[in-house]
């Protein structure tokens, strides 16, 4: 009789522990989503695509939608040179990528260059 009672208790205790573990695991997943583990993954994908938007490219070079290609090249030249002398290589890269990006936009036939 005593052995049977003990066995019963063991089984019940085991089930409770198992349930608690599963719930803790679920909660951990929810917490991970809240703290932005998923966000981090999305950022990683965005960085991997290695593309600059036209809008950011215009901001970097400080030009408007209506600027001509000549204005862009002029602006690019001064900014590129200045960063080669006194600025940083990272900013120089951004200036270069911005010109690259806009080059593709302006080479479309319907845009006056």
């Amino acid at each position: 009789m005593a052995a049977r009672l003990l066995a019963n208790l063991l089984v019940i205790g085991g089930t409770v522990l198992g349930r608690a573990a599963v719930q803790a695991y679920r909660q951990a997943i929810v917490n991970a989503n809240k703290t932005g583990a998923a966000q981090e993954a999305i950022n990683g994908i965005r960085r991997a695509s290695k593309a600059m938007t036209e809008q950011e490219a215009r901001q970097i070079l400080g030009i408007s939608e209506k600027s001509t290609w000549e204005e862009i090249v002029q602006k690019y030249d001064t900014m590129f040179e200045r960063n080669a002398k006194n600025g940083s290589f990272y900013l120089q890269s951004k200036v270069h990528r911005a010109k690259e990006c806009l080059e593709a936009v302006y080479q479309k036939p319907d845009v006056p260059s």
């Binding site: 600059m52 600025g87 940083s88 290589f89 990272y90 900013l91 951004k94 990528r97």
Partner: protein, 76 residues
Amino acid sequence: MRKFYEGGFQPAMTRREAGLILGVRENVHPEKVKEAHKKVMVANHPDAGGSHYLASKINEAKDVLLGKTKGGGSVF
């Protein structure tokens, strides 16, 4: 010739990116940060052919490295 960094700026500035922008190491002395900020800012000043966007990035980089804003939104 070194290979240019790819793509645009990161969505949220990290200490690493801030260091790259100012051309200093991440854990450099605050005085060096100010010095580097001045140098890079003069080179990219909006009144002398630079852009406002880059100027704001340079200021943000200084703030991140001096610990005035939380860099990269990291909890650590």
